[in-house]
């Protein structure tokens, strides 16, 4: 199976066209296999006792962060649906919706980055060598985010930034209310942009599948609640986090 597709440019030279969308099915299948494998594995494991959600609440996500998360989530899903459905044969006028969602995502990501930098909260989600202990030692609990969450965040960050940057270059090549399409990219550069956009889209599909799966896993469901309502219980906190490493504000 090819990773990229090629076309002839205006002078007949072979240039990149973009990602080979045959990979879409491969990615879906591989993601589902991994998820199924994990689910089966987990089913064979002894089920740990769930911490109680009763008791005192501690704030895990501020309202603004929750809003931004859902804005990003919705815009990414909108981008995926508008971008991918036409490729699999469901035809509709997708382009305008796609770039509007793309702008929303870009704005949300920018906001998130700026806020994170200003809040000096970057480190909470940054993977450090000490995080590796978590993976090796069950007794070693994480701070605010588990290494898996940090890994997921890092992967989504890289992929989303790439999809946004490549998307913005492509945005310059269509008509919008603010400008007529430019001819700013050479065909080979444009091909690279399409390839990056396509590959990162595929990566996003896999990452989102994993994210959804882990979110919906029973033992992790409280994280979903925290992303909706903002809090986790003290029980959940102590069962999953090291208070030395994360001392959340308990005013929630």
């Amino acid at each position: 199976m090819e990773i990229a597709t090629y076309k002839n440019d205006v002078w007949g030279r072979e240039v990149l066209l973009g990602v080979s969308w045959d990979l879409l099915w491969l990615v879906c299948v591989v993601a589902l296999v991994i998820i199924a494998g994990h689910a089966v594995y987990m089913a064979t494991q002894q089920r740990a006792e769930r911490p109680s959600q009763e008791g005192k609440h501690v704030q895990r996500h501020e309202p603004i962060d929750r809003i931004m998360h859902w804005v990003m989530a919705i815009s990414i899903l909108a981008l995926l649906f508008t971008g991918v459905l036409p490729i699999i044969g469901i035809e509709f006028a997708w382009l305008t919706l796609h770039w509007i969602a793309g702008l929303v995502l870009t704005a949300a990501v920018l906001f998130h980055i700026i806020r994170s930098v200003l809040q000096k909260d970057l480190m909470s989600v940054w993977i450090s060598p000490s995080d590796l202990k978590e993976a090796l030692d069950d007794s070693h609990k994480p701070g605010k985010y588990s290494v898996a969450q940090k890994g997921m965040h890092a992967a989504v960050t890289v992929v989303t930034l790439l999809v946004i940057v490549s998307g913005l270059f492509m945005f310059a090549m269509i008509d919008t209310p603010w400008w007529d399409r430019t001819n700013s990219l050479s065909e080979s550069t444009l091909g690279w942009m399409f390839l990056i956009h396509g590959l990162t889209t595929l990566a996003l599909i896999a990452l989102i599948a994993f994210h959804l799966y882990f979110t919906l896993r029973p033992e992790k469901l409280f994280y979903l609640r925290s992303m909706i309502k903002g809090w986790i219980s003290e029980d959940e906190l102590s069962a999953n986090h090291d208070p030395e490493r994360w001392a959340p504000d308990d005013s929630a």
Binding site: V10, W11, G12, R13, N183
Partner: protein, 803 residues
């Protein structure tokens, strides 16, 4: 009028039957044993350098016979066209060719060939190259100057401000390459009551011959046999031989029928060399039939102009001074030279008392240029007509009058050197046309009817129409047949036949007893002119005349030798030479021919004049002993410019809402001296009119300046006029006054027939739009609609090749 037997009479040219029945064979219709088919791989890039060629897959294909690359053919120095090149300078520049057992295999082979080309800077609009920092079409420079002092590349750049000034319609202030002038320009403008100053653009376009060029070559014992689509016959041969690296005696050129050339097939063009070298390389006959699309790439095109003109007129309409500056688009191969010819046309048609021409030929990576029907003269005719109208309006004189007052006459001197003309009757043509068209009535009729506006136009066309110094060859055989050998070529106008009739006229013989030999070197043809530049009529009538006169002289001498007396005692008629006073005493042409063979020597071609060309000499050698040979070089008087002139009157109805116009009436009048062949003349005048209509409103090159791609490479995309775009009746007439420097009084007309048409239309469109001057050809519907709506045009001022 004279009592000619053949001249001025219609006849059926010998090639008509084949054309209407489809039996006429053109170059691509020939097949010889072992022939293979070649196809070309051409440049997809406007300018580049080949870095790698991989033909391995093609070579492995069954049926592929050979591959020819630039290494297999002689190298040429830029900017000359190469047979095959590794530094293509336009899209469609041939890089290699494949020969295979059939065309499909050749095409499959082409599809498998991989060629890497490194792109180089390219340009499709001369002004983009002229502006400082702009790309050059050739690495050697952006300007190529051809002159008697020496030709060469130059790099000429103007500042952005200078280019902007030019675009704004002001006198160009930048460097130029060519200049000539006569008279006192300053005084001329000082004397002027009215001065008109306008910028202009004429966009080039393809020749669009019905027959895309084909060459089929094979070698036998060192002689190259070449079937090709040629305008000229004998004139084609030295160039062909030089291209193949052999002597002229070692080429046999077969070109009996040609489907149009219009200037694009005058002399040897690269693909004849390709077929020749390919055949030599693989040892088999090779036919190369270029596709219609390739004909658009390499089939030659009209030079485009971007210019500025200032012209002054006295109160009576007399042109006092003209100052013209032309940037010409000479394509990648520096072919053209139209601009100076345009200047010459101004000096002749409008006869300003003083004039200056300045020109700058700029290379572009567009299709190679070449002479196209009225090269230079017809572009400037289109430009000038509405300017003359504007001047007449400002002076308050009639538009016909301003043309008449400046009309070239017998005593007018023309060009930089203020040379004489052989004769000129433009004023008579204008008067005749005005009468046929009823100018006086029409000019006073109502113009507006709803959204439609009537416009009247007058156009004048000119091209020099003759040359001299070529050879004539006729032969009379013992069977009484008169053989007229014509080496002019047959591009489809029938002029090879009509000019041959001058020999029949001189020999006072029946046309049915004449046989025209043409179309192949093996038909033993004389050295004749190129069939181009409207020269055939003037030039070829002279060669036929001198050859026939030589035959008459020889017949009289043979009669005197055989029957007694002196040659002066004899005359000819009824295909006999007879004693004046006692007509019964004489010999038939057949008998004279038989006697010529007996006598030998010059009579039957054993000897011949030393001043005839080697091609004629060989033909005479081959014919020697087969009859009475009349052969001579044309040394008749020729002094001055031989003008072919025409004028046209047109009425259009232009719809302001659609930008379209109907041509209601068209009258074209030729001043071509004595009319040689009325049907042929009518055909030239009508065909030229249609061409002019295409140039005025439809035809142009379109290139995407961003990637150099041509947008129109097919008949449909090029929008040549159809039956539905031209009037169903085109009226034509002729002044029919003889030129003193032609033995039958004839001059050519092919090119002016078009110039007058395009000029009449630009004049009529301007008239319909209250004198608005677009300063551009073609004037398309979108331009008219934009103008009427008060919108900007979609092109920059003086922008070319992309609208």
């Amino acid at each position: 009028m004279s009592d000619y037997k053949h001249i001025g009479k219609d006849f059926v040219p010998p090639d008509i039957m084949g054309k209407v029945t489809g039996k006429a064979k053109y170059a691509e219709d020939f097949r010889v044993d072992g022939m293979v088919y070649a196809r070309m791989y051409t440049s997809p890039m406007a300018h580049g350098r080949v870095t790698n060629i991989d033909t391995s897959a093609a070579e492995a294909m069954e049926g592929v016979v050979g591959i020819l690359t630039a290494e297999d053919v002689p190298a040429t120095d830029a900017p000359s066209a190469a047979i095959l090149t590794n530094t293509p300078a336009y899209i469609g520049d041939p890089i290699l060719a494949v020969a295979a057992e059939d065309e499909k295999t050749a095409e499959n082979a082409l599809a498998s060939i991989r060629i890497d080309i490194e792109p180089l800077p390219f340009v499709t609009d001369p002004l983009d190259s002229l502006v400082a920092g702009g790309p050059d079409a050739r690495e050697e420079g952006n300007v190529y100057v051809r002159s008697q002092e020496g030709s060469g590349f130059r790099t000429v750049k103007w500042t952005k401000e200078q280019v902007d000034e030019f675009r704004a319609g002001r006198e160009p202030g930048g460097e130029y390459a060519n200049e000539w002038s006569y008279g006192d320009l300053e005084k001329g403008f000082a004397d002027a009551r009215v001065i008109i100053e306008e910028p202009f653009v004429t966009i080039g376009y393809a020749h669009m011959s019905m027959e895309p060029r084909t060459a089929m070559a094979y070698w036998q014992n060192g002689t190259c046999y070449m079937h090709a689509s040629c305008q000229s016959q004998s004139f084609f041969m030295p160039g062909l031989a030089a291209m193949l690296g052999v002597e002229t005696k070692d080429v046999v050129l077969i070109s009996e029928n040609t489907g149009g050339g219009f200037g694009s097939k005058i002399g040897a063009y690269p693909i004849v060399g390709l077929a020749g070298y390919f055949s030599k390389k693989i040892g088999r006959p090779v036919q190369l039939r270029v596709t219609r699309e390739q004909e658009y790439y390499m089939g030659s095109a009209r030079v485009g102009f971007q210019g500025w003109i200032k012209i002054g007129f006295a109160a009576d309409g007399r042109a006092t001074a003209a100052d013209v500056f032309i940037v010409e688009d000479i394509g990648p191969n520096a072919t053209g030279g139209d601009a100076s010819s345009a200047g010459g046309a101004i000096s002749l048609v409008y006869d300003p008392e003083a004039m200056r021409f300045r020109g700058l030929p700029i290379l572009t990576n567009t299709t190679p240029r070449g002479a196209q029907r009225g090269p230079g003269q017809n572009q400037i005719a289109a430009v000038m007509a509405p300017l003359m109208d504007k001047a007449a309006k400002q002076l308050g004189i009639d538009r016909l009058q301003i043309r008449r007052v400046n009309a070239v006459q017998n005593d007018t001197t023309v060009y930089a050197g203020q040379e004489p003309v052989t004769s000129a009757y433009m004023d008579e043509a204008l008067q005749q046309g005005a009468e046929m068209f009823d100018w006086e009535t029409r000019k006073n009729q109502a113009k507006r009817n709803g959204s439609k506006v009537r416009g009247l136009g007058i156009g004048q066309g000119y091209h020099s129409a003759g040359t001299n110094g070529f050879d004539g060859l006729v032969r009379i055989t013992p069977d009484g047949k008169i053989h007229l050998h014509s080496g002019i070529g047959n591009l489809g106008t029938y002029s090879f036949a009509s000019t041959s009739r001058v020999a029949a006229e001189v020999l006072k013989c029946e046309w049915d007893d004449c046989v025209i030999h043409h179309g192949s070197t093996e038909a033993n043809l004389p050295w004749n002119s190129y069939q181009a530049g409207s020269v055939s009529t003037f030039t070829q009538t002279r060669t036929n005349y001198v050859a026939a006169m030589d035959a008459v002289d020889k017949m009289k001498r043979i009669a005197a030798e055989t029957l007694g007396g002196t040659p002066d005692d004899y005359d000819i008629d009824g295909q006999r030479v007879f004693r004046i006073g006692t007509p019964a005493q004489g010999m038939s042409y057949g008998a004279v021919a038989a006697r010529a063979i007996q006598l030998g020597g010059a009579y039957s071609g054993q000897t011949y004049p030393e001043d005839i060309h080697e091609i004629t000499q060989r033909s005479v050698q081959n014919l020697a002993g087969s009859g009475l040979i009349g052969v001579a070089k044309d040394k008749l008087e020729r002094n001055g410019v031989i003008p072919g002139l025409a004028c046209a009157f047109v009425e259009i109805e232009l719809d302001l809402e659609t930008g379209k116009y109907d041509i209601l009436d068209y009258v074209g009048i030729a001043d071509c001296g004595t009319v040689l062949h009325p049907q042929g003349l009518a055909q030239q005048m009508k065909g030229g009119a249609v061409w002019g209509m295409g140039m005025a409103g439809l035809e142009r090159h379109v290139y995407d300046p961003q990637n150099g791609l041509p947008a129109n490479v097919g008949f449909h995309e090029c929008r040549i006029p159809t039956y539905m775009d031209v009037p169903s009746v085109i009226q034509v007439g002729a002044v029919d006054l003889p030129d003193p420097q032609n033995p039958v009084g004839a001059r050519g007309i092919g090119e002016p027939a078009m110039g007058c048409s395009v000029a009449a239309l630009t004049s009529a469109i301007s008239d319909a739009l209250d004198g608005h001057i677009f300063g551009r050809t073609p004037i398309s519907a979108d331009m008219i609609v934009n103008h009427v709506a008060g919108l900007d045009q979609s092109f920059k001022p003086l922008q070319t090749n992309n609208s």
